[in-house]
């Protein structure tokens, strides 16, 4: 019972790290980036190459799993995405799905279509018992890392100059620009961090979710659910939503195995009917 709860939290944390970048681009920049999963995949594959082929230690590879997708993110943001901020949502959907297809096929070409695995350190394998509750070591690590990340993000958004610039740029880009904030630069950095976090999520999630070229399409729905349920006005919203979904998904599949993913779809619909702006969003006047 407690083990299921623990697993659910770990799963939820992972979903949050994977999806929070999407929530930021959507909420902050009003941009539907369905290619978000592709950045997660890039992080995952970067880790596989680093750890398995080049022999980089797992924990040393994790920062790189952040850096590589972040760099790709900046590159794409500056060259392509930038032109689409002002376009309709439909164009954005078409464009980012196109990118996703390209990423899927390119990964298949470069890395093969079979699942790949990161060789994780011995110390993270298996689990231990704590007061009769089985705790997976790897999942514990996920909770620790993701928890720290969340705190860091929250701090960065609410307590730093960059955070206030970002919030200003979101609330009113024109005024922010007038106040001397480089809105474009702020957005680019935000996009990069979002992509990087997805990459880190992909690297951490490879062990649990499996990693193959189909990854961005397979998990796109989950990311969207997290964002839709959590709302896009803060990062606490998606965080709580991700935890809730993680627990309900794992719990639902444990207690009602025949209904499978039915539980989280139901939760999503109920939430969205009651709170169309998302479960944890403040009422929006905009």
């Amino acid at each position: 019972m407690v083990t299921i709860l623990f697993d659910g939290i770990a799963y939820g944390m992972l979903l949050f790290v994977l999806a929070c970048g999407l929530s930021v681009t959507l909420g902050v920049m009003n941009f539907i980036n369905l290619a978000h999963g592709a950045f997660a995949m890039a992080g995952g594959y970067a880790t596989v190459v680093l750890v398995n082929r080049l022999g980089v230690p797992f924990f040393a590879a994790l920062p790189l799993a952040f850096v590589v997708p972040a760099a790709i993110g900046v590159l794409l943001e500056r060259t392509l995405y930038r032109h689409l901020y002002a376009r309709s949502h439909l164009d954005q959907v078409l464009f980012t799905i196109g990118l996703t297809f390209m990423a899927v096929a390119a990964t298949d070409y470069l890395a093969g279509s079979q699942q790949v695995f990161v060789k994780i350190p011995q110390a993270l394998e298996g689990r231990f018992d704590l007061a009769g509750v089985g705790i997976g070591k790897y999942r514990l690590m996920i909770i620790v890392i993701c928890g720290l990340l969340t705190l860091g993000l929250q701090y960065a958004l609410t307590r730093t100059t960059f955070g206030s610039r970002l919030r200003a740029a979101v609330d009113d880009p024109r005024t922010a620009q007038g106040m001397g904030i480089h809105v474009n630069a702020v957005f680019a950095v935000t996009f990069a961090v979002g992509s990087g976090l997805a990459g880190l999520g992909g690297a951490l999630g490879a062990e649990i979710l499996g990693l193959d070229p189909h990854f961005p399409l397979k998990f796109m729905i989950y990311f969207l659910i997290v964002v839709a349920v959590g709302g896009t006005s803060s990062i606490t919203g998606p965080f709580l939503a991700a935890i809730l979904l993680g627990i309900c998904d794992v719990g639902g599949k444990y207690y009602l195995p025949k209904l499978g993913a039915f539980v989280i779809y139901t939760i999503m619909i109920v939430v969205l009917i009651l709170r169309p702006q998302g479960l944890f969003s403040r009422a929006q006047g905009r």
Binding site: G98, A106, A228, T266
Partner: protein
Amino acid sequence: MSTAPGIVAIALADRLAQRARWQPVEIVFWAAAAASVFLLPGKHIILAEIAILALFALSLDLILGYAGIISLGHAAFFGFGAYCAGLLAQHHLIDEPVLALAVSGLAAAALGFATSFLVLRGSDLTRLMVTLGVALMLREIANRFDALTGGADGLQGITIAPVLGRFAFDITGHAAYVYALAVTFLLFLAARRLVHSPFGLSLRSVKGNPLRAAAIGISVNARLVAIYTVAAGYAGIAGALLTQISAFCSLDVFSFDRSADLLLVLIIGGTGYLYGGLIGAVLFKLMQDWLATMTPQYWQFWIGLVLVAIVLVGRQRMAGWLYCARGLVPDMLRRR
């Protein structure tokens, strides 16, 4: 005798009639479709599938292009219609395909009516996710009741009776294509009438500005519910068509990929003028088929590239190029 409002009404009716009048190019389109029955007998299998996709896209256009409701779960109705038709045939409840088609369409419309209340509120993202959720839930339900639906293995052993007792579906796909095309055409006519009717116009005003529409006395929600129901019925018929011509039905009819592809089709063709879905379906399917033949493993890459290119170049600009190229075509026609 005629008062000022009367004149306005007459003028308005005149404009409407003009809008609703058939353009030559539309006639060419349908003539080409009819000609394909005789000229392209070898392509009937894929053409039948294109006709179904076109009908399905037309259905999405009704809600997206005319009512502004974006849906990522339109496969819910497609799948519901598909399973209805499949079960009706499997248990020999209704053997006549045309009748079964109508019943499946009505069933899907009923489902559309029931779920329409979920999409009345909320932002684009909310609607996207609610519709997606409905489709995925139906998929889980169909999987759960595998005694009825066959689960992940699909409905097996369906036999479809000949259409109107005469035209049997065979391996060549001729009957299937003519049947699918005829159904699509008839439903297109109905849709065309619908969007040019006062009801269709009121929908457009709702799409343009719901608040103002409400202010001039249009009951916004009733309109949205109505069109959503109609569109669901259309999608259900498209699904039923697929089941009937393939004598098979699997969980894939509810899949997210199907809804997403549909959205792509409609965006490629353009929304809000009914032909967008039809043209998009033809282009998308042919492109996919051609690329998948060229490179079975990596065709997705090239599709992706095309989508990206479409957006970057911009549909407006492409339409502009076509507009320049257009000058040539009527010339060639006239010269004969």
